[in-house]
Subunit: 182 residues, 2 copies
DNA sequence: ACCTGAACACCGTTCAAGT
DNA sequence: ACCTGAACACCGTTCAAGT
């Protein structure tokens, strides 16, 4: 059901994933899909959470900084494997399915072990997520369209992502910003 | 010419900005637009660079950290004023018009004064841009759709943006990551 | 429950022709 | 240069009806 949507997406891109195209591949009429999914948006939401299922969560005993780093790296590469879905992640603010929820909890746990809780933890989590999805959006869109300007190779962007992630984690854990009201 | 596009966008959103709708507002046939702009994508690219024209560049004598901070803050609020264009910024990697170029140069100048040059400066600039656009995307999309989950007020997101920006700049300027090969 | 036929109300873009 | 009429090749979605 969803699987063929995923496969059609991989073959023909986001613009190529149409309800009509999907229906014809399944050998049914376009409107028959509405017996299985309430709208195209709902279909995409389902696909998004499936991508997050690919992210593996690190050993919770590991140091908080490295734990967070590996979660974000793993998320980044999961996103890169589904380039066409990344723009949708941004538009929908990172999916709200069960997998998204699970990852959010793991992140909170690591932040808490680094002594970051409350509002500050929420902020840090949001910053990390936004940064990761944003960079994935950059990497995937740059892969899709080749410009005269030179497309910037993917491994360079991955290194760039890692640098920024380190900066971010350094800033978060060092406790910059906001006076020590905690 | 472009002005009406901007105004139509403000009124009816990105989905409401169609070539046909734009044409009818101008009192011409849909295809007449193609005498003025080569495609809808080109039209949007023009709109994007216009938004970047709203960003004001700080006094170049100011301290690098605060200079960069104010550029990114100003960019963030310029983006927030045109919520419907933000997704396009991500898809097109932040526009490539003259205004985009100008801002990029100013950022490089500040980074250089902070002792950051070469690859590292490119990485830092990209990280800052991605972070800013990504957060703007979050803020605008959360403003557009109200969910049961509670939409997160805009000023909270703006503070959140500022916190993350501080963390990022702390990390960048403190010289974390990559061993001191410079 | 799940499907079909037919339709509604749209899209972006192109082509030939006019002025 | 800038416009029109007409068309091409599509969209997502709904409604009534069938099994």
């Amino acid at each position: 059901v969803l699987k063929t949507a995923e496969q059609l997406l991989a073959e023909r891109g986001l613009a190529g994933l149409t309800m009509r195209g999907l229906a014809s591949r399944l050998g049914v009429a376009p409107n028959a899909l509405y017996s299985h999914v309430s709208s195209k948006t709902a279909l995409i939401d389902d696909l998004l959470d499936e991508v997050l299922g690919l992210v593996d969560t690190p050993d919770p005993e590991v140091e908080p900084g490295t734990g967070l780093e590996s979660i974000m790296r793993s998320s980044f590469s999961a996103l890169l494997e589904h380039p066409d879905l990344v723009p949708s992640f941004l538009a929908r603010q990172g999916a709200r399915g069960p997998n998204a929820h699970r990852l959010g909890e793991v992140m909170f746990a690591f932040l808490a072990r680094a002594g970051i809780t409350g509002t500050r933890a929420e902020e840090a989590r949001r910053v990390l997520i936004v940064y990761t999805i944003g960079f994935a959006a950059l990497a995937t869109s740059s892969a899709l369209e080749q410009d005269a300007a030179g497309p910037v190779p993917e491994d360079e962007l991955t290194r760039n992502f890692a640098s920024g992630l380190t900066w971010l984690l350094t800033g978060i854990i060092s406790g910059a910003g906001r006076p020590p009201s905690v």
